[in-house]
């Protein structure tokens, strides 16, 4: 391997890693606030790419139907739970957030679609359509078992991923998509050609991580999320509702995953089931950060991207085998580095 090839592989790896980093940060966000290891963020990323591709082809994406169905189910569940608890006065609120708002988003997207909007609007539409999915899934799937163990939540999360893969095939079909590059610019750095898309990916990753940092450190909502992550009961006593904090976390997380989906779509062909590997690799990065540190997760994810890039140069067939085998030593390191209390374990 010459230094030229190494440099190209490294840049390629950083770009892939930056995409994983966005998903990884979302994963850490959800885990700290809700204790759910949300494997389906990869699926959310893939669905965004597929949504954007459909919009580009002037078709209304299947995401719309998916959001409508999920919104109906979530509303039904919410109404039943309100009835059970005798809190019908909260019904208008529930109808607004779980039914009206998602339907309005889909309706707006549908109307805008007909005007054949430019790329920038299409990007916004794709993100708008994708962001309600994870919060709705949270309401349907995770809220009823919010008190469960991390393991139970993980098992459910994995099952949910498989459901989403099936839904992805149903709503988007088996064809892979590759969208137009967002920019055709390119630049040369130290003798190596860097495409504009690569630069865009890295910049986007930096910008979104920076925004998230500002959000957490300088806004009250961000601080309430951090408080929920540290101690659910304590933050409840301070008037923060963990369920609401969870919803905000899912919204933010899906936004990050959506952006990563948009960024990866012009680089790799995305299929309905591409999300699993994106999600898992991002997750490997998140584990490097101990599932708690955002910079740690970002660094870990970039590391995974570089590793994958070099591994696929050595043996493209075995690159996934290599990446996942390396997860085991990382897990051992993280497990040794974190203290566990026995009380957590379910009898």
């Amino acid at each position: 391997m010459t230094s030229d090839i190494a440099a190209i592989l490294a840049i390629d790896g950083i770009a892939t890693g930056a995409v994983y980093a966005l998903v990884a940060i979302g994963t850490v966000l959800i885990f700290t606030v809700t204790r759910v290891i949300f494997i389906p963020f990869g699926d959310i990323a893939a669905f965004t790419a597929l949504t954007l591709a459909a919009l580009d082809a002037k078709r209304f994406p299947g995401t719309g139907a998916l959001v409508v169905i999920l919104a109906c189910i979530a509303t039904l569940i919410e109404i039943i739970s309100l009835l059970r608890n005798g809190e019908l006065r909260l019904l208008p609120r529930a109808l607004f957030f779980y039914l009206a708002l998602p339907l309005a988003v889909v309706g707006l997207a549908w109307l805008t679609m007909r005007a054949e909007p430019p790329l920038a609007i299409r990007l916004v539409l794709a993100l708008m359509l994708i962001t309600p999915i994870a919060p709705l899934l949270d309401r349907i799937v995770f809220r009823p078992i919010a008190d469960g163990t991390v393991l139970l939540l993980l098992t459910v999360s994995v099952a949910l991923h498989f459901a989403l893969v099936g839904l992805g095939l149903l709503f988007f079909g088996p064809e892979g998509v590759r969208t137009e590059p967002l920019t055709s610019l390119s630049t040369e750095f130290a003798g190596v050609l860097i495409s504009g898309q690569t630069m865009l990916i890295v910049i986007a990753a930096l910008v979104f991580s920076g925004l998230l940092y500002l959000f957490f450190d300088f806004t009250l909502v961000g601080k309430s999320l951090r408080a929920t992550a540290v101690n659910r009961t304590g933050s409840r006593l301070m008037g923060i509702r963990p369920a609401r904090a969870g919803t905000i976390a899912y919204l933010l997380g899906s936004l990050m995953a959506g952006v990563s989906g948009i960024l990866i779509a012009p680089v790799n062909t995305v299929f309905y089931d591409s999300g699993f590997l994106i999600g898992l690799k991002a997750f490997v990065g998140a584990i490097v950060g101990g599932m708690t540190s955002y910079p740690g997760a970002a660094i870990g994810a970039v590391g995974v991207g570089i590793l994958e890039s070099f591994a696929s140069f050595e043996s493209s067939a075995l690159k996934d085998v290599i990446v996942f085998s390396l997860l085991i030593p990382i897990l051992i390191w993280r497990s040794l580095a974190s203290l566990h209390s026995e009380e957590e374990i379910e009898e």
Binding site: V141, V158, L170, R334, H340, I345
Partner: protein, 589 residues
């Protein structure tokens, strides 16, 4: 319902299985074969996940290793499938041992995530290795032959599959009811208790892990030679989840639940395939996995316990007979009264900058009750944990019965004869009183895996049961040995812990705040029990907060304050010591 009824029911079930091919059509027999093959994996998972508390997403990879191994031996190299069985089982168990040694020290969800990792890595390997047919798989795998009789049709291999399932269930239930099985059942709920009983928790986990992999390898072997064709698909991550689902639906922790879960999931999948096209034409393939995952999620939301435990609640209880008298278990040589038993010399333990225990020295002589007391934060619990090996001292030495135990692991110290109880009671609430106490005898007994599974060591088992009952009677809990430990009030749970410690035949009994949270009557009963143990020449070390409880009971007291030893002496002298009064009540100044 007695044991005889259960045995009759089992015989009837086996007879039904044996006669089933006479009445079932070929398609149903094939379905039954798949259920049997999946059952083996699910039984392994019931053992691993339900009993041992290790959630594995990767069992499908083990099935695949064995299936590919036997296909390689028989289809690609032309040897007998039986050689494939030997090779497949050996390879799978070897891989499992290596993975287990590397990963089983991981805690909680880290361990489960590692199963996702190696499950995926091995799964990707099948489709990418040259010589294993890549994604096209391996075809024309020969059928299994017994002598010259080849098991070609599904009705023929049926008997082999279900014969293996029945034998596995039989051995599995025997194992769970043996010494090793009890240790496996104790794994759930944390290592500290397990280690304190002289059980090497890591070893037990490894054994459980390899047994589960072994069952998966049997399943893989049968699968390869039944379907006569393999490809990476049936061994991927999705199938790993499905196996986990089978064992959870059936009731994790119940071996029979593995079979029930495999049957329900397989039949459900089959009917989903039948009926979905009626609802949604053309989209059935996609909807199948959605419907299936949704059902699984609903199941986890509403019925985490599983079907078999749910049904078992409505069945009549099995009546058990009180254990019969049996020859006693061998006892360890007890130290002569008055002899030096435990010597702590200059012990120091730091947590970062905090010195929790600072240069503490004291001695325990055989036959006495010594109390270590002190106000909150005095370092009592840290001292206790250092004595029992749960923590290591940074400096100093601890000598027990003439041997330095300063660097020994918990299980070794427990084997040497220090038995302990816990401040926050650690029992296995879903095991009976008798079984909880039987756990205490682990280090005194020797029945291993095979002797347990084949019931070869019934004499030791009878002695163990009798010993446990004797200790229950000794502490006054002998009237309901088959009650579940979780049903006892706190006072009796503490006393049950003492019975469990006594079952280890200890030379030194160490009690961590035994009176905490007890009502007055319970405290009096506890003090009475400890006095009677002293009159049996048992040495007792108590770490305690409750002055009144300690003063009337013990022979000598060591007082700790801010990590250092304040003074030592008889209760009366300690009571009048000004420094002690100051430490407890604040300065008079």
């Amino acid at each position: 319902m007695t044991r005889l009824h259960v045995q009759l029911a089992a015989v009837a079930a086996v007879a039904c299985l044996a006669l089933a091919p006479l009445v079932l059509n070929p398609f149903s027999i094939t379905l039954m074969n798949y259920i049997g093959i999946y059952s083996l994996v699910a039984i392994g998972l019931a053992l691993l996940t339900g009993v041992g508390g290790i959630v594995s997403f990767g069992q499908a990879a083990f099935v695949g290793v064995a299936a590919y191994a036997t296909a390689w031996v028989s289809a690609l190299n032309g040897y007998s499938p039986w050689l494939g069985l030997v090779f497949g089982v050996a390879l799978t168990c070897g891989v499992a041992t290596v993975l287990g040694v590397v990963t089983l020290r991981l805690q909680g969800h880290f361990l489960s995530l590692s199963t996702v990792a190696w499950g995926l890595a091995i799964g990707f390997l099948f489709g990418n290795v040259e010589g294993l047919g890549r994604f096209n798989g391996i075809s024309s795998i020969p059928p299994i032959s017994i002598g010259s009789f080849a098991l070609v049709s599904s009705a023929q291999i049926y008997f082999l599959i279900w014969g293996i399932v029945v034998v596995v269930l039989f051995l599995g239930y025997n194992l769970l009811d043996s010494r090793l099985g009890r240790a496996m059942r104790a794994l759930r709920g944390g290592n500290i208790l397990v280690e304190s009983l002289g059980i090497n928790a890591f070893r037990i986990k490894l054994v459980t892990f390899v047994i589960a992999a072994f069952l998966a390898s049997l399943s893989g072997w049968l699968y390869a030679h039944m379907s006569r064709f393999i490809s990476p698909g049936p061994f991927d991550a999705g199938m790993g989840i499905e196996y986990l689902m089978m064992s959870m639906v059936g009731g994790a922790g119940s071996l029979l639940g593995g079979v029930v879960g495999a049957a329900i999931v397989t039949l459900l999948k089959n009917s989903v395939q039948d009926y979905l096209p009626l609802i949604a034409k053309g989209a059935s393939g996609q909807l199948e996995i959605v419907a299936f995952s949704a059902l699984f999620i609903l199941f986890l939301q509403w019925a985490r316990q599983g079907i078999v435990p749910f049904v078992a609640r409505y069945l009549p209880k099995i009546k058990r007979e009180r254990p019969q008298a049996a020859p006693p278990l061998p006892r360890r040589p007890q130290p002569t009264p008055g002899e030096l038993l435990l010597k702590v010399d200059g012990a120091e333990r730091r947590f970062g900058g905090l010195v929790a225990v600072n240069n503490v020295s004291f001695e325990v002589r055989s036959g006495e009750i010594l109390a270590v007391i002190g106000p909150n934060g005095a370092g009592k619990s840290t001292m206790f944990n250092c004595l029992t090996g749960a923590l290591r001292v940074n400096k100093g030495e601890i000598v027990f019965a003439g041997r330095a135990i300063t660097r020994d692991p918990q299980s070794r110290i427990a084997k040497d004869g220090i038995a302990r109880t816990f401040q926050h009671v650690k029992l296995r609430p879903r095991m009976s009183l008798l079984e909880n106490v039987m756990l205490g005898t682990y280090a005194r007994t020797s029945t291993g895996l095979f002797a347990g599974a084949f019931r070869l060591n019934q004499r030791e088992e009878a002695s163990t049961r009798h010993e446990a009952l004797t200790q229950l009677e000794r502490v006054g809990l002998g009237d309901k040995p088959f009650e579940l430990a979780g049903n006892l009030p706190l006072g009796n749970q503490r006393i049950l812990e003492i019975a469990r410690a006594l079952a280890a035949d200890p030379a030194l009994l160490v009690l961590d705040e035994p009176a905490a949270g007890l009502r007055r009557q319970e405290k009096l009963r506890l003090a009475e029990l400890l006095r009677s143990l002293r009159s049996d020449h048992l040495t007792i070390l108590i770490v305690e907060h409750d002055m009144e409880f300690v003063m009337s009971l013990v022979d000598r007291i060591v007082v700790l304050d801010f990590g250092s030893k304040l003074c030592e002496g008889a209760p009366a002298a300690i009571r009048s010591d000004e420094r002690v009064q100051e430490a407890y009540l604040g300065g008079v100044a």
